[in-house]
């Protein structure tokens, strides 16, 4: 069977190899036609610092078990899933102007990836066939997030300010009361007793300690209030201390490299299918040809006395040589006739 298949293969090699050739060619054509268009990627790196508000526990929706970058990545992904955020970002991209809002949203959302790169570093990347759009989308996401953060920070700062100011008033009143009580008690004591360093009075000591505690509380609340003022002022001036763009998105100069797997997929598929199809053709032709062709097949009938080659076929093999001879012969004849 293998000898017969070998013989059939070489006798009809073009026919047997035709499916392989056609399918590999089709695979290569498909790879050329379906070649992905060049894609550009712009990336920005953001440094995430937990804010005073987060530390204070007022912005309490962050997961304490995740790193700041992971928390912020989650926030970004949540925001990107919002149509309003994606549309607000798309509105900032000149390359997406005039497109249908749904297309704009899809463009911003589909090929944007937000990945935490470390504890505090976040990477925001966007891929697009247009290099400028890739850069502008990343920048737009950063800007939209910055705007949103500013609004949130200001709102949170306002709330915190109100809260701490109320507490500061109370603390101030407590401090005043403690100071007044201390002053009144000290006035009731003889001046010689107050001048004597060895003088000990339990009531005086209690009033002094109470006044000191009230002063400490007041100072702490004042510090907190000042930091809230600072954060709000920073946010309003566009300098969010907890969200700093470390590497701004740049205009990509070269497209992303096309994957070799994508390039070779169709030709390899064609190769595999072609081999299979050629194998089927070879098998079918071998099985369908039931005639005696090889000496070992003739031996099944009787002892093979002689094997006579196909002389006519042999002659065809030499036609180029004969053709050259005839041309040379004719040339000589022509040259002779000219002379």
């Amino acid at each position: 069977m293998s000898q017969r298949a070998l013989d059939v293969f070489f006798r009809h090699k073009l026919l047997v190899l035709m499916p392989l050739i056609v399918l590999v060619a089709a695979g290569m054509a498909a790879a050329l036609l379906m070649r992905p268009q060049p894609t550009y990627q712009a990336t920005a790196s953001v440094w995430i610092q937990p804010s005073a508000l987060l530390e204070s526990g007022l912005a309490g929706d962050a997961n304490p078990y995740l790193t700041p970058a992971q928390n912020q990545a989650q926030v970004f992904n949540d925001l990107l899933s919002l149509d309003s955020f994606a549309l607000a970002a798309a509105d900032k991209v000149p390359g997406l102007a005039g497109l249908h809002p749904l297309i704009q949203i899809g463009e911003v959302r589909a090929t944007t990836t937000v990945t935490p790169e470390g504890v505090n570093v976040l990477s925001i990347a966007h891929q697009s066939p247009d290099a400028a759009v890739a850069r502008d989308v990343v920048q737009a996401i950063l800007d939209t997030q910055a705007e949103r953060t500013t609004t949130d920070v200001v709102a949170e700062a306002d709330a915190a300010e109100e809260f701490y100011e109320a507490r500061l008033v109370t603390a101030s009143e407590d401090l005043d009361q403690d100071k007044v009580a201390l002053a009144e008690y000290m006035a009731s004591l003889p001046a010689s007793a107050l001048a004597d360093p060895s003088f000990v009075d339990a009531r005086l000591a209690e009033l002094r300690a109470s006044a000191q505690r009230a002063q400490d509380d007041y100072d702490a609340l004042l510090d907190r209030l000042e930091s809230i003022y600072l954060e709000r002022d920073s946010a309003l001036k566009g300098r969010d201390l907890s969200f700093q763009v470390a590497d701004a998105p740049q205009l990509p100069t070269s497209p992303l490299a096309t994957s070799r797997t994508d390039l070779l997929l169709f030709p390899l598929l064609g190769l595999m299918l072609g081999f299979s199809a050629s194998g089927v053709v070879l098998f079918a032709m071998t099985r369908l040809d039931e005639t005696i062709r090889l000496p070992n097949e003739a031996q099944d009938i009787g002892p093979v006395l002689a094997v006579v080659p196909d002389l006519g076929r042999k002659r065809r093999r030499y036609w180029p040589r004969n053709f050259v001879r005839q041309v040379v012969f004719a040339s000589r004849g022509l040259l002779g006739s000219v002379e």
Partner: protein, 257 residues
Amino acid sequence: MLKQAAYAASGAANRVVRRSPPAGDEISAELMAAVIKKNPEFRKLDSILAALAHICLNGHTEPGARVIGVCSALQGEGKTTTSVALASSLALRGGVDVLLIEADLETPTLAHDLRRDNGPGLVECLQGEVGDAAVIRRTPIPRLSIMIAGRPTATPLPLLAQPGLRQLVTGMRSRYAYVILDMPAVLERPETALLLELVDKAILVVQAGRASPGVAEEAVAAIGKEKLMGVVLNRSHSSAPRWLRRIMSQETPLPAA
């Protein structure tokens, strides 16, 4: 010597044939020499069929097996070529007298193959129109004589059924070391059964790529296994490279010359 296939094997030989029309009763020596000497392909064919002659001459036939029939399952598988070449090789290499009788009376081709006019032959001899000596022709090959079929007949069976053929073959046994009978196709002509009764051994010619094993086995059954000397695979051709065939042990060793 020989048949169309041998001629066709070389354009040069064909040109010689066209330029040198044979004349006279004998096969043209010029024609024979041209084919044998100028056709390298024929030398290869001759060397292969020499092996066949070697087998015939060296004990592969039983003692007294002097009448050898060459037949095929179907018409046109190369039995005339084989029988001519076999007879020539036997005469040349064996140095014995050989007579080749063309027994395919319905479609004789030997005269045409040898570029000869179809003069009187076996038909005329069996019909009593001429004697056997008049239809046996000498050839340039020493010790080889041929008897062509003669006038084609559409009903060869009654002619061959006459005792004349048996008497003729019996008479030739005493005059020739070997009598080669070029017979019709076994499965297509009923008269082949009559001819098979006259031969001691028969060679089945199988054309590669034409007959199926079933047809060949049917032909072997018609010949009879005890009478079958062997098979000649004609027009065998393998397109696979020789080295690859060797690797796959495909090469069947040919009988040594």
